[in-house]
């Protein structure tokens, strides 16, 4: 996160050196864009706060550790789609799951849907792309995640033993 501010700060400085007028204008645009999308952001955070409460880490561990690999994969991809967990929490959790014996295929289904499919980010995505395209993009992403999971399963020798 720090490098974002180093980059933003430097860019702002350079911009200011070249044109004070353009810099003011860009800050106005930044503020306007932010205010416009703020309600969607707020809605997303509200949804996340409730869903994270309903789907705690233990629940994820329990479902992903299910005996049948394909049931576990289906559950993993659904859980990954409906939750938003930052990478610094999700990957250590994934690492623990692998150590517990959860297959890579299931972990891949979880982390990839977590990254690509966002049910909770729909408020924001919809504000820009409209509901229909949002739904299409998420469905496509869901299937890409499943393909990734299956190829990971094949590569780690988890499907045909």
């Amino acid at each position: 996160m720090y490098y974002l501010y180093i980059v933003a700060g430097l860019a702002l400085l350079v911009s200011l050196i070249f044109s004070r007028e353009k810099t003011t204008r860009s800050l106005k645009i930044a503020a306007r864009r932010f205010i416009m999308i703020l309600p969607a952001f707020l809605l997303m955070i509200v949804l996340i706060s409730v869903v994270l409460y309903l789907v705690p880490d233990e629940l994820i561990s329990r479902y992903l550790g299910s005996d049948n690999k394909f049931t576990a994969m289906a559950l993993a991809s659904l859980l990954g789609s409906v939750t938003v967990i930052p990478g610094f929490i999700a990957f250590p959790l994934a690492g623990i799951l692998v150590q517990k014996g959860v297959v890579y295929m299931v972990v891949a289904a979880f982390t990839t849907t977590l990254m690509m499919v966002g049910v909770l980010t729909v408020p924001i995505e919809r504000a820009y792309f409209g509901l229909k395209v949002t739904v299409i993009r998420n469905i496509i992403s869901f299937f890409i995640a499943l393909v990734v999971a299956v190829v990971i399963g094949l590569s780690f020798g988890e499907i045909f033993q």
Partner: protein, 174 residues
């Protein structure tokens, strides 16, 4: 005010009243939801100002012709490479990629490039990939990239071309 707006305001107000009441009465579930809300808000408030400042500077300084030439209708495969690089350096989650995608779009980037950017921002963020590789192994990360990236590009082209034919437009976010 539109009816939808009123409903939204009532829902938000109800949510915050619920948080305050839970906090005052020590209702556990409500307190936990409140903690989640605060932790996520602070994470995002940390990222959003920096990201929107960059979006604002991009809007003012980058010429439309430049974006059109490299990422627009006339661009070649290098356009996809550029946005994959851009996506891999995007901070925050997918939620931050949407405003950036709109900024690119409003400067003339084509839809297939925009969708590729969104995909890349989801799957290629470098800080995240480093985390992933250290917990799940480099092999895992490499396979994931090799499988997902081509699929993202192909499906983005299909979806982008389809929507372009239908005259689809991305809106300014509201």
């Amino acid at each position: 005010m539109k009816r939808n707006t009123v409903i939204k305001i009532i829902l938000f107000a109800g949510y915050f009243v619920f948080l305050v009441v839970s906090w005052l009465t020590g209702f556990n579930s409500g307190q936990e939801i409140g903690r989640n809300f605060i932790s996520f808000s602070t994470t995002m408030l940390g990222i959003i100002p920096g990201a929107f400042i960059l979006i604002g500077l991009f809007e003012v300084w980058v010429k439309r012709e430049t974006v059109e030439r490299h990422l627009g209708e006339g661009s070649d495969f290098r356009g996809y490479l550029w946005v994959i690089l851009l996506g891999s350096t995007t901070v925050g989650g997918l939620y931050m990629a949407f405003p950036v995608a709109y900024a690119l779009y409003s400067k003339g980037a084509k839809l297939s490039v925009i969708f590729t950017y969104l995909g890349a921002a989801a799957i290629c963020r470098i800080p995240m990939a480093i985390f992933e590789a250290s917990f799940l192994g480099v092999k895992f990360t490499v396979i994931r990239w090799l499988v997902s990236l081509p699929l993202v590009i192909i499906t983005s082209i299909l979806l982008g071309n389809y929507l372009t034919r239908k005259g689809y437009k991305v809106s300014a976010g509201k």
